[in-house]
């Protein structure tokens, strides 16, 4: 049994691709906008707490992809953590549904300073298809301060990876 497994590991080889941190002009082309001057970048590692505040689950699929062997995001020291108390960055997807408003505020409060908030996807950045209604607060910036927005429905893993690298010291 183990033979089949090892054979597959060996024949698959390494599929991981190389990515460089983006230049400033590249950011704009990728639909990434830094809303606040980031005066101090994180070095070596970045702990992310993903919060779905009212997404359709499309963005989540692309966040998941960051952990696949092509992007292998952990090699850059970027990892997803289970608690906001361990996080440097809140990666928020979706419009903020009113039923999630308090949960998001509490998650934000539980995240230690210094912290950054990334609004990922069209919904989180500007409201997308759902906008503001009796059930939705709209964009994330309507609820908590946002430092970076990434447009796209959903943004591709490549764009997401570049955005995260832009937050880190080279």
């Amino acid at each position: 049994m183990m033979f089949k497994l090892f054979k597959k590991v060996l024949t698959t080889g390494i599929v991981t691709e190389n990515f460089k941190a983006p230049h400033d002009e590249e950011l704009e082309a990728l639909g990434i906008e830094i809303k606040r001057r980031i005066d101090k970048k994180f070095t070596g590692s970045l702990a992310i707490r993903a919060v779905d505040a009212g997404s359709c689950n499309g963005c989540e699929l692309e966040i998941h992809a960051l952990n696949n062997p092509f992007y292998d995001i952990e090699r850059f020291g970027i990892h997803f953590v289970a608690s906001p108390r361990h996080a440097d960055v809140l990666l928020v997807t979706g419009v903020v549904s009113r039923h999630m408003q308090t949960a998001l505020l509490r998650t934000y409060d539980a995240t230690p300073n210094p912290k950054w908030v990334i609004a990922m996807g069209d919904c989180a950045s500007c409201g997308g298809e759902f906008g503001v209604s009796y059930a939705s607060c709209g964009a994330v910036s309507n609820v908590i301060p946002v430092d970076m927005t990434i447009t796209g429905c959903p943004p591709s893993p490549l764009v997401l990876l570049k955005a995260l690298l832009a937050l880190m010291e080279k």
């Binding site: 009212g54 689950n57 998941h64 696949n68 092509f70 549904s97 939705s136």
Partner: protein, 540 residues
Amino acid sequence: MSWQKAFLQQLEEVEIFCRCGFSRITTDDENAAKAAPTQRIELWQIDDKHWQRFAELAAENKLRWAAGWAEQIDGQFYVNACFEKSGNYILLRATVNASKPELSSQATVYAAANRSERHTHDMFGIEFLNHPDPRCWMRHKAWGKRDYPLRHDFPVQGSPAEITPPDTDYHFIQSHGVGVYEIPVGPVHAGIIEPGHFRFQAVGELILNLEERLGYVHKGTEKIAEGRTPEGLAKLAGRVSGDTCVSHAWAACMAMEQAAGVEIPPRAALIRGIFAERERIANHLGDIGAICNDVAFTFAFMQMMRLKELWCRTNYELFGHRLLMDKIILGGVAVDVSDAAAKFMLTDIEQLRAELADLIPAIDLNSSLEDRLYTAGYLSPETAAHFGTLGFVGRASGQDFDVRRDAPYAPYDSVTVKVAAENQGDIASRFWVRYKEINASMKLIEQFIEQLEKLPEGDLVANWQTPKVESYGLGIVDGWRGEIISYVRFGENNTIARFYPRDPSQLNWEALEKAVLNNIVPDFPVCNKSFNCSYSGCDL
């Protein structure tokens, strides 16, 4: 004699009279009768007082309760329920007075109707008498107890507080006894998943009871659909559940096309089929990997994620979007399949087959995986039937139903759809059903490509014609999670008056509560993943 006729006779014997018609009111009944089964859904209208009695007789006749929703028309409410038996659907309707809207509950007969009626109550204020669970469901604290968002007098902006307080007074089932404890989980979960709340009662590691509390991602989808253009609705439907963007958009478009009497070009139907099967394969690959990950078998997880990534990249290369979002549009599809694209897909399928031929035996021979997946998360065929469980979850528990085979619509009416069905009902069974579905989908894509090559190049989109006011349609397709039912009614000037999508998750969520009983708490994630229900598709 069809079961409908026999059933109608039986109803008449107990003095329940149905006024029957067809859903497609733009064409005459004779034409409608010739159309595909999903194109000729019979409408049965009954008096409101018979609502529950009808359900009792329907259950005796083994009709499956499939969906329920309401709508407001002038001063009245229409309450709708959709039933299915041997691939034939009926749409049941009762009219309820708006001044005192109440109706007997069908949830007393059909467990599947439980949350649906609670949803209808919260959104419309229709009281379901003798409902077994009168707690609110969709309403947390974003609107008042006496406010009903889907009524016409409720403005789309509502009057929300600056900060919506948390829903703290929901009455979960309590348990008492030595050593019994409670674990509240969510709405924000530890992983990268959608928000919802789970309340476990446990003794030691054993789960005594699980209660789901959803509604956290309620985004007002039904309300903001009102007044949209048909094109706008297709976009919104693609975001009911992002992992099912193809099938939800298809169901909504099918409903709108049915209402307008528009037939999509054959080429568009084949391409829709290709997209839907590509979506099924992508999700199954990802979830098979994720199930392995939840029992710490990283090899399989990484390999499956690799295959899924390659699959999504092909979507992007050929059609411009990794998840194929917005590629199904009103009247057809947004992008053609060129000869080169067809060839590319065929090579891709060959490669995927070869990869799986390596991988699946290696995964199958892993005894630690066997240890965790076999017998865990068991859903009996009886429980599955009780909750009207759909898709691969139902098929792994003896529910041998697939819209593509049993109520075929174009392009599935031109091929033989093989449905994988098992009775084993555990996580392993759901795993294997999904693997078999990947194989079946690859074959379907090959067949669709073959048919596509025989077709002359032609239109991808049918000409739209404005539907008559009040015309409606019911789009029924088989998404990767199972049967999706989408209801659309038109208002004036080509605008949407009502949209209700019923994701299969709405029924599968309740079955999950039962499947985890007597499992250990640490196995909940893998049980949950083996169902992979949508939160967004359920909360709307």
